[in-house]
């Protein structure tokens, strides 16, 4: 059966993509941010996962308000970068793991989660940036396949944090019941604190961000019990997307070891954090 070898969490801010595209990686402003990912990149190179399940949200680039699935699972063979207004980024298309995607969809439905089944879709910075941060951008082909899980965290009602945590538990069941010797990582993306709209725009909460990076490892049940309002109050309106990390955490055992953790603020207008978790 397939193996889950670790969980990763990271911000997916578009300015990170812009910084990479403009060659700003080693500027004084960005270097401390990017250097924070070096240990995780080393871990990836050493463990060579075959499949990355990426939990993220489309930021109204591939999806519009006409149809808003609360959860969607991509089961395509390929996911191309979407045009977010500046033309599609020069990132190689992501290879899908369609067979596992269908197995995941089966497992989810059997466990009372009913996702939209998505066979054709492009992906935005929400998936691109985490992949580039952990794997580096390849010349031609990604050394890993992806399974995108789309979550609506923008149009209300968004799902409850506890629901996402439970989704993670079913995701684990799907991985463990998948007849394959492939090695999986699960990546929760988004956050940390930021608010882009309204008179509270520019809201940052580095203390809460640092606390979250501790609690996601040690007290996930507590974080899963928070209300959506508490997330928005604590992390800002767009920072509320941090609930997507709970899918990653729910997929892992209760006991985990933090292999690496990094925090940097602000990346553009966002508290940027990452974590690498292994099971004990």
């Amino acid at each position: 059966m397939a193996t889950l070898i670790g969980g990763l969490g990271t911000s997916h801010v578009p300015s990170i993509a812009a910084a990479m595209d403009k060659g700003l990686r080693d500027t004084p402003e960005w270097q401390p941010f990017f250097d924070g990912y070096l240990p995780a990149q080393e871990w990836i190179r050493y463990h060579r996962p075959d499949v990355a399940v990426v939990i993220f949200n489309d930021h109204y680039n591939a999806m519009f308000l006409d149809r808003v699935p609360t959860f969607g699972v991509g089961c395509a063979d390929e996911y191309h970068p979407v045009d977010e207004g500046w033309g599609p980024r020069q990132v190689p298309p992501f290879r899908g793991a369609a067979d596992f995607s269908w197995h995941l969809i089966d497992t989810l439905v059997e466990n009372h989660f009913d996702p939209e089944i998505i066979q054709e879709i492009k992906v935005d910075h929400g998936l691109q940036v985490p992949m580039e941060l952990f794997w580096g951008r390849p010349e031609n082909e990604w050394p890993v396949t992806v399974v995108p899980i789309f979550v609506n965290v923008l149009q209300y009602p968004i799902p409850l944090p506890s629901r996402l945590y439970n989704l993670g538990k079913v995701l684990r069941r799907a991985i463990e019941s998948y007849d394959s010797d492939q090695r999986f990582v699960v990546i929760g993306t988004g956050g940390l604190s930021h608010q882009l709209q309204g008179a509270r725009a520019g809201f940052l909460n580095p203390d809460a961000d640092q606390q979250f990076l501790r609690d996601i490892a040690d007290r996930p049940d507590e974080l899963a019990g928070w209300s959506r309002e508490k997330y928005v109050q604590t992390f800002g309106s767009e920072g509320g997307e941090l609930i997507m990390w709970l899918v990653m955490r729910g997929a892992l055992n209760q006991q985990v070891t933090v292999r690496h953790r990094h925090y940097f603020a602000p990346a553009s207008m966002t508290g940027a954090g990452m974590i690498l978790l292994e099971e004990d």
Binding site: Y60, Q195, A199, G202, L204
Partner: protein, 128 residues
């Protein structure tokens, strides 16, 4: 007989100032109905042909999506605060900045009512 309703707001809904969390406009039912046209117009800018149309004749492009006078005015004046108040969501209207460049921190500062440097310093803790 069942009454049918357009998915987009009729344009008569009042703009919102009654956020549950102060100064934090969430895309809830009322707001997304109110902002449907603005958001659809901005979503269109993900297509290069529409970006060219927007650049060539902005008013005509906005008319194509049925924006009312208040909405058109907010877009054409690049009044970000007003676009949000009218139900625009940042992830849509940000695409306007791909056609007419402005930094996201400037959009933030405008909504807060601060000049850019003050916003960077006071909200984001930057040393400027």
């Amino acid at each position: 007989m069942t009454q049918t309703r357009e998915p987009a707001g009729s344009g008569h809904e009042p703009a919102r100032d009654d956020d549950t969390i102060p100064d934090t406009p969430l895309l809830d039912r009322k707001r997304q109905l109110r902002g449907y046209r603005i958001n659809k117009m901005a979503m269109g800018l993900g297509d290069p042909a529409n970006r060219e149309a927007f650049k060539a004749d902005e008013a005509a492009y906005l008319d194509r999506f049925g924006l009312n006078a208040e909405e058109k005015d907010a877009v054409m004046r690049r009044d970000w605060r007003e676009m949000i108040r009218l139900g625009g969501n940042l992830f849509f209207i940000l695409k306007i900045s791909a056609v007419d460049p402005i930094r996201i921190t400037e959009i933030g500062a405008h909504q807060v009512g601060m000049d850019h440097e003050t916003f960077l310093r006071e909200r984001l803790g930057k040393k400027v």
